[in-house]
């Protein structure tokens, strides 16, 4: 699933480590989400959207066809 987490993070001048700390996850998790290699669970997706004052639909684009390589670290 495509997302704009990297852009939202860059707007705020945050590093991946800063965002990871805010969310309580590892930096690798943030990297995996940003690169589309991992789709977060619903609670984490809500946490990300809430952190950036956006809706889930604004952050994550579910109109893209499923990618076979997703959630396969």
């Amino acid at each position: 699933m495509k997302n704009c987490v990297r852009a939202l993070r860059a707007e705020r001048g945050w590093s991946q480590a800063t965002l990871a700390d805010e969310l309580g996850v590892s930096r690798q998790s943030v990297n995996a989400i940003e690169t589309g290699k991992y789709d977060p669970s619903l609670p984490l997706a809500f946490a990300i959207a809430r952190l950036f004052n956006q809706t889930i639909e604004e952050v994550f684009d579910d109109t893209q066809p499923p990618n076979q390589s997703q959630n396969k670290p």
Binding site: E22, L44, P73
Partner: protein, 135 residues
């Protein structure tokens, strides 16, 4: 979801891992030295040292599983996949060595080495899975 899930889980894991590994080394060294002091090692001492040596390693395995349970969702996925890879590799080695023994290709194999094989496979799998994300 609680904040600092990943960091606190990792802190708890490391707080357990290092003392356990230190204890393991101490028991191995002290055990070897103690046994060397006897001409004929007492059975009770051999059994005690074997149990004491295995205990920290077994506790480490459960600490790894607790870490996987407490950490963030992505790290949990990586950890459990690495654990599964380690398990699959070790079971494969068991069958391979077992059949080599059944068909008299090799005489004997120290079962102990299956432990390090698991940890090696688990470590390599963790590194590979994390590297795939960081590329």
């Amino acid at each position: 979801m609680t904040r600092q899930t990943f960091k606190s889980a990792k802190r708890r894991y490391l707080r357990l891992l290092w003392p356990l590994m230190t204890l393991y080394v101490i028991i191995i060294l002290a055990g070897s030295y103690t046994l060397s002091q006897f001409d004929a090692e007492p059975r009770w001492l051999q059994i005690s040292l074997a149990l004491a040596s295995a205990a920290p390693v077994i506790a480490t395995l459960f600490a790894m599983l607790r870490y996987a349970n407490e950490t963030d969702e992505y790290t949990r996925l990586v950890q459990l996949k690495a654990f599964a890879w380690g398990g699959a590799f070790t079971i494969s080695a068991v069958f391979l060595v077992g059949f080599f023994q059944i068909f008299d290709v090799i005489a004997s194999f120290e079962v102990f080495w299956l432990g390090p094989i698991f940890f090696l496979a688990y470590g390599l799998a963790t590194m590979t899975l994390n590297r795939n994300v960081c590329e």
